[in-house]
């Protein structure tokens, strides 16, 4: 396993949209192991996305298993993930391995339903809420070239950006 370099703002590659994974082979499994090693080497991140290490595949890892009081599905490798349902919203403070030394408030759905493949290509379905749902939404944003700083509504206060209807 290798610790990979993490792309950091303002690296323009973080804006790149990642491609679906089509081949589930040993190369993929090796990369996932490296991605996980990189997550664990950083400052207590609950998730990481492949494009954060410059590999533009639709892969994220989310792991809240170290937070027993937070409802979670344990260590998850989510490949080609799709959120199929959103409900509720809440403000929460986020930071990112790709944006060191900055946190800000972001609105996320509080409940989501999700489909994703695992490392063997088997499709799974999940229902998530709260912190785990937030973590998944944060990581999936990376696959579409979005960082939490693109969604920060306020550094400090619970302000909501007014929706603009066009």
């Amino acid at each position: 396993m290798a610790i990979l370099d993490i792309l950091k703002l303002p690296d323009p590659r973080l804006k790149q949209i990642s491609e679906p994974v089509t081949v589930f082979d040993q190369t993929l499994r090796d990369f996932i192991a490296d991605l996980e090693a990189t997550r664990l080497a950083g400052p207590s991140a609950v998730g990481i996305a492949a494009p954060q290490v410059g590999r533009f595949w639709r892969i994220v890892i989310v792991d809240l298993s170290t937070r027993p009081k937070t409802p979670n599905h344990g260590h998850l490798v989510l490949i080609n993930p799709e959120i199929t349902h959103w409900d509720g919203f809440a403000m929460g403070r986020e930071g990112c391995l790709s944006v060191p030394d900055y946190t800000g408030n972001v609105i996320r759905a509080t409940q989501i339903r999700l489909t994703a493949q695992n490392a063997d290509g088997v499709e799974q379905e999940y229902e998530m809420n709260g912190f785990e749902a937030r973590a998944v939404q944060h990581e999936l944003d990376h696959l579409d070239g979005l960082l939490f700083v693109d969604r920060v509504v306020s550094r400090r206060t619970d302000l909501y950006r007014r929706k603009v209807y066009q």
Binding site: G47, D101, T157
Partner: protein
């Protein structure tokens, strides 16, 4: 820019709110070769208030002299003080304390004395007076760090409810992803 070689000043400006204050002030600072660091800028009571870290690129007297025409035109009160410290010294909060109550003198002192006794380090505090003029309501939101448990803080703050102040303590979860 790395922060290692930079000495910082804290620039404070206050004046009646109007459009263009930030643009005019920061253009002058840029013209002096100053870098800007962390800032807090907010409208308070009809005034616009600025607290801004400004690199000590030039002697303070030069910075103040350059700002003087803009300050005079926009009727801004200006202070510039050397500060210790620098960038990248953030602390993350782990607790949030929300306070509401019929407005009266002493709420902030009452709440924060209890928090201080619990080793609570206030990192951010916002407060406002809502309601109407006849029945003002004081609302305060504090984020900070304490090693004490939520239960310990909540118990310490509980007596305030008998004095008409509602206090809620909640964890702040910062997601790093």
């Amino acid at each position: 820019m790395t922060d290692k070689q930079v000495d910082w000043n804290l620039l404070t400006l206050v004046g009646a709110d109007r459009a263009g204050i930030v643009a005019r002030v920061t253009r002058v600072l840029y013209g002096l070769g100053c870098h800007l660091g962390e800032a807090s800028m907010i409208r308070l009571g009809g005034n616009f208030t600025i607290m801004l870290m400004v690199s000590a690129a030039r002697p303070n007297a030069d910075i103040l002299a350059a700002l003087a025409p803009v300050a005079a035109e926009l009727e801004l009160r200006v202070h510039l003080d050397a500060m210790s410290g620098g960038l990248h010294q953030h602390l993350l909060p782990n607790l949030q304390v929300r306070v509401t109550g019929a407005d009266r003198a002493g709420i902030v002192a009452d709440v924060t004395e209890i928090l201080a006794a619990q080793g609570f380090n206030i990192l951010e505090l916002e407060s406002d007076v809502a309601g109407d003029r006849d029945r003002p309501v004081y609302i305060m939101n504090i984020q900070g760090y304490s090693d004490h448990t939520i239960e310990s803080l909540a118990d310490a703050l509980a007596p305030l409810s008998e004095r008409g102040v509602a206090v809620d303590v909640a964890p702040v979860d910062v997601l790093i992803g």
